[in-house]
């Protein structure tokens, strides 16, 4: 057997082992999450190693308990879901509004400092977000915005604007200049060109950026902890789950149901949009 034959056989085998391993490490934890969320806590404590749920143990009470409002003895995750959704959507809108003009200017226009602006924006990530948290916390306390969901969304902009500018700038540069020139010749002002020509063409990028921002805001934890920990009725799902997971009052399987509830929206959104985003829209737009 030559070296090539040996290596081909070896790597052919190793490839399947790797694939099986990857499938295991990515799917099993999420399967485990789902599994534990439909079990009563006794079943978990009795047999921690079990990889399935017996029919007699299967229950959805965990979900009922986690979603019910606190006034009815539940954990109030439904309210937290609404809070999370409000913050995340608010962040998406604010970020896009703030980042689109900047990204367009950086990708298209030459102006004083244009080459350094994006570097300045990206330098934000050099600073730990804990560092940003102190002054923002004080500023918002002064404005009376701490413990306020809109205040939290404004804070999230700090995390999302730089990466949004980066993502959209890359897309804007792929839109052929000639399309914009054609619009200008037809009498569009710069603002009209952006609104009627560039933005529709950049829709896939806007959606991808919006989705990414939504995920960041939905999953964010540190600022929610700093700003909202004192007011439980404003908790986001992430914060609520962490706060309850630290205690011993709520059973682990109920919290597992909470984790499922927290995870499902982002995962669904991500898979729904994954295909949509891969379709290029500009192809054919510039053919003469």
């Amino acid at each position: 057997m030559t070296r090539t034959q040996f290596e081909e056989r070896f790597f052919g085998f190793a490839r399947w082992v790797t694939i099986a391993f990857l499938a295991a490490i990515t799917i099993v934890p999420f399967y485990y999450m789902l599994l534990l969320s439909v079990k009563p806590i006794d079943a978990l404590l009795l047999d921690p190693g079990s990889l399935w749920v017996a029919a007699k143990d299967f229950t959805l009470d965990t979900y009922r308990s986690v979603l019910r409002p606190t006034s009815e003895g539940g954990q109030g995750f439904l309210r937290m879901l609404l809070n999370s959704a409000a913050v995340a959507l608010g962040t998406v809108l604010l970020t896009l509004a703030a980042a689109v003009p900047g990204a367009y200017a950086i990708s298209r226009l030459r102006f004083f400092g244009s080459r350094h602006v994006s570097t300045v924006f990206l330098a934000v990530y050099l600073f730990p977000s804990t560092l940003l948290a102190v002054p923002l916390f004080v500023m918002f306390a002064k404005l009376g915005l701490s413990g306020n969901l809109m205040g939290l969304a404004i804070v999230y902009i700090a995390q999302t604007v730089p990466v949004s500018i980066y993502m959209m700038r890359n897309y804007f540069t792929t839109i052929p200049r000639s399309i914009e020139e054609a619009a200008a010749l037809d009498g569009c002002s710069r603002l009209q060109t952006v609104r009627k020509v560039v933005l529709p063409l950049a829709l896939p990028s806007l959606m991808a950026t919006g989705l990414y921002v939504f995920m960041i805001a939905w999953n964010e934890f540190l600022f929610a902890l700093l700003f909202l920990a004192a007011s439980p009725d404003k908790w986001t799902v992430s914060l609520g789950l962490q706060q309850l997971a630290g205690g011993i009052e709520v059973s682990k399987t109920v919290l597992m149901a909470g984790s499922v509830v927290l995870t499902i929206p982002v995962v669904l959104l991500f898979f729904a949009a994954e295909r949509l985003l891969t379709e290029g829209l500009t192809s054919g737009a510039d053919k003469s």
């Binding site: 790597f11 900047g102 030459r110 004083f112 804990t130 560092l131 923002l136 700090a158 995920m215």
Partner: protein, 337 residues
């Protein structure tokens, strides 16, 4: 700077501020107009970044030179009594240095781990097979899912009382006692008569970070792999290259720029990471990274000045490391690319 010939007809000469006078004036060049539009477009974005990012950072820098506690910070003027106490306290404390070295270990381990695993995954999923699309989708789960949820799942799975890992580890691998993965500072292992102490909690946190971020590396590397022209590998194969030589001499040089970029990105992100460590261990058992330490100073001791000073030192260390990287290594990679 490109300047349009001044004789060009200005179709939309800005009419504001410039009423048509008989006086001869210089027409606005295209470049000037572009400059003005560019600034107008970038101003809103810049203002937002100024308010939520730049001003807070500058304020923090001021705070590091003052005695600032959370209670009295609101009434304080911007420029109080200057002091270097915060920095002497930070540099003088043993806790800070051990915390910094933990941060470095954690960052290097997680960055290398996630890139290596991502590379292996990209190589394995390179050629099509049944169910590849499904697997590729599910491989993004750890990256997409909320950190609080997955950290909670890891906590439960690794728990010594009811965790599945200890249960199966005991059955299959013959562990005698359940391991407390997240609260054991060092675990003694004897191998071939030698005794090692391994920092179990730190390794677990690194494993978590590797698991959570390998999909990120995988996505970038797979995209680059699929752009490698088939002809290159075919030629190598015809010349008798084995698969491992093919990887070493054909694929790896093509991937190097992406790997370098990923290393820098992951390094920066992990260096400042707070959530993952805080949620898994709370910074205990030898996983006290600086970001968690800053949080503790802020919320437990309300010592804003000291917290800010540590965060600033962290940022400075990161800047220096990046500076070293870009001076010595970035050029080399660019030449290879």
């Amino acid at each position: 700077m490109s300047t349009a010939p001044s004789g060009v007809t200005q179709r939309r000469a800005p009419s504001e501020n410039r009423p048509p006078t008989g006086r001869k004036r210089r027409p606005v060049t295209t470049a000037q107009r572009e400059n003005r539009t560019g600034l107008a477009f970038v101003t809103p974005t810049f203002l937002v970044v100024l308010v939520v990012v730049i001003i807070p950072i500058l304020w923090t820098v001021l705070l590091t030179f003052q005695h600032a506690r959370l209670v009295d910070i609101q009434g304080m003027g911007l420029f109080g009594n200057w002091t270097l106490d915060n920095f002497t306290a930070v540099f003088g404390s043993a806790g800070f240095w051990s915390s910094l070295s933990t941060t470095l270990l954690y960052t290097v381990g997680s960055t290398a781990g996630s890139i290596v695993l991502g590379l292996i995954a990209a190589l394995a999923l390179r050629r099509p097979f049944r169910g590849r699309g499904l697997l590729r989708g599910s491989m993004l789960l750890p990256y997409v899912a909320p950190v609080v949820a997955v950290a909670f799942v890891w906590q439960v799975a690794l728990s010594p009382q009811y965790g599945i890992v200890n249960e199966w580890g005991g059955k299959l691998l013959g562990w005698d006692d359940p391991l407390a993965f997240l609260s054991t500072r060092s675990y003694e292992v004897s191998l071939l008569g030698l005794h090692f102490d391994i920092p179990l909690a730190l390794l677990t946190v690194i494993a978590f970070e590797t698991w959570r971020y390998f999909p990120f590396a995988f996505l970038f590397l797979l995209a680059r792999l699929q752009a490698v022209p088939d002809g290159l590998e075919e030629a190598a194969r015809v010349d008798g290259a084995t698969p491992s030589q093919n990887f070493r001499y054909i694929l790896l040089p093509q991937l190097m720029p992406v790997i370098a970029l990923l290393s820098v990105l992951r390094f920066i992100m992990t260096f400042n990471k707070f959530d993952d460590v805080y949620l898994l261990t709370g910074g205990g058992a030898g996983t006290d990274v600086v970001a968690v330490r800053v949080y503790d100073f802020l919320t437990a001791r309300f010592d804003v000045g000291a917290a800010a000073a540590q965060a600033l030192v962290l940022a400075a260390v990161l800047t220096v490391l990046l500076g070293i990287y870009f001076t010595f290594f970035a050029k080399k990679v660019q030449e290879e690319a």
